[in-house]
Symmetry: C2
């Protein structure tokens, strides 16, 4: 997906929010935003938004000497999501369509997205679960995803955010014992999943976890490691979570199902949906 | 009022919105936003937000060769507000406190503010009227304003937006026959009032109208004409409408009452109020 001009105010909003998490020094916050404005002067709209977000967050980390501004937030999100886990596990167990319920819950968890400006808390997550379980998703696309899962021999599951990863675990438990590899970012970026979240959520004790070698808030293939690219090319089914992975991979000709909550007007426009939608989007193949 | 870092995303939002009103050429819109990012690189946070907004809108007018992007919107706002006029006139007539009702309606009209990103329509205006009539405003400040009006010999009334000017007319009719001068901007900027709106609303046939010689969306004294400065210095009471006039004059030691609807989180913070508040603020004297 290309970058829209509407993403520009959003890059500044994200930069300001993150600067304030890292430092109380207003002069430094101002300096960061002015440096971001230099980046925006060189913006390439043909590249997806995470390409610029990547540069913005790298700049903030460099200027504040803080590699992981969202560390505490990520830990809190994992702990919060883990409190939901037993109830969700029960929901799936009691569901007449457990795989579909697990898919819907995995989508619900995508609400935990600090890049999109959502301060996910207990109430917001509860609302997202309720909404995702009821949202009208085409039966055809659900059955295509389920049938792809049941035929796949090598599934690559690209995670998105901390906290959300606990919701991914529920879906992965339904998919097992099929071979699944779970992908995390190579370095910290916003509240995106890294290796430590795979450990904290318990996913690393269920399936193989691979770092993608990149700190982009999405999957920019040219920034990913050869190890990840091998997994990406070998997979016969890819499940990619969230807006960032959608924005960076939606034009790829691979067998990808995107599972996401729509959290901004631009992704809503691009997917012909509305903010708040729970989507399964099948890539062009 | 100083510029807050939160104003930066807002400058880009306004620039994008205005660019889209003037042109469908996406390359030009992109060029405008990149030029705005250069301006932001030079931003002076100690100056009030309309100082930068002034530069942003001047840039857009220059690059698009369109002096008045909001011309049609301003005409539509005046026509819409004029439809409300008879009913509001009646409200004041039937009110046990007609001056207070007129003051509250003048504040209500300040909702018509395209700079603040509000697309004022019939419903939004009706809601604003209802809210302003009921809003808890300190009785002390209302009576101070009324008493200042009753003693004043030379009132300067600094207008803000098209459409809103019809609401100002109702208050001016209550204040007459005292001497009032109504101030409009010197050149078009956003949906701010200019001479043509004073004519269209009927204000110019009631009181003297003065252009301030500036196209800032507020009152930046150093950009105003000597004629305006004479009126400003001679007035023994100033009524200034809206956020832009508040942001640019709130540190002036003149006898100013600011009448405004709070439409953004930053002005809410600065005035220790909430978005949606109907405020009368007395300047430090």
């Amino acid at each position: 997906m290309k970058t829209y001009l509407d993403c520009i105010p959003c890059f500044f909003r994200q930069a300001l929010k993150t600067s304030r998490i890292v430092t109380n020094d207003e002069a430094l916050q101002e300096y960061i935003l002015k440096q971001v404005s230099k980046l925006i002067g060189q913006l390439d709209l043909l590249k997806p938004p995470p390409y610029t977000a990547y540069k913005v967050y790298q700049l903030i980390s460099k200027l504040t000497e803080c590699e992981d501004p969202y560390l505490d937030i990520k830990k809190a999100s994992n702990n919060l999501a883990l409190k939901f886990y037993p109830k969700m596990k029960q929901l799936i167990k009691e569901s007449p369509t457990p795989m579909e319920t697990a898919i819907r819950l995995a989508i619900a968890g995508n609400i935990i997205d600090f890049g999109a400006g959502i301060e996910a808390n207990k109430e917001i997550i509860e609302k997202s679960i309720k909404s995702s379980l009821q949202y009208k998703i085409s039966k055809s696309v659900i059955s295509k995803l389920q049938s792809s899962i049941s035929k796949a021999e090598n599934i690559l599951y690209i995670g998105d955010n901390a906290g959300e990863i606990v919701f991914d675990k529920l879906l992965i438990e339904q998919i097992l014992p099929r071979k699944i590899t779970y992908v995390v970012r190579g370095k910290p970026i916003i509240n995106d999943v890294t290796l430590v979240d795979a450990i904290d959520s318990g996913i690393s004790s269920l399936v193989e976890v691979v770092e993608n070698g990149s700190s982009a808030p999405g999957t920019i293939l040219e920034t990913c490691s050869p190890e990840f690219m091998q997994c990406y090319n070998d997979a016969d089914l890819i499940i990619a979570k969230g807006q960032g992975n959608y924005e960076t991979l939606n034009e790829e000709r691979n067998k990808i199902f995107f599972l996401l909550k729509v959290k901004c007007a631009i992704v809503a426009e691009d997917t012909a949906s509305e903010v708040g939608s729970s989507l399964i989007i099948r890539s062009e193949q």
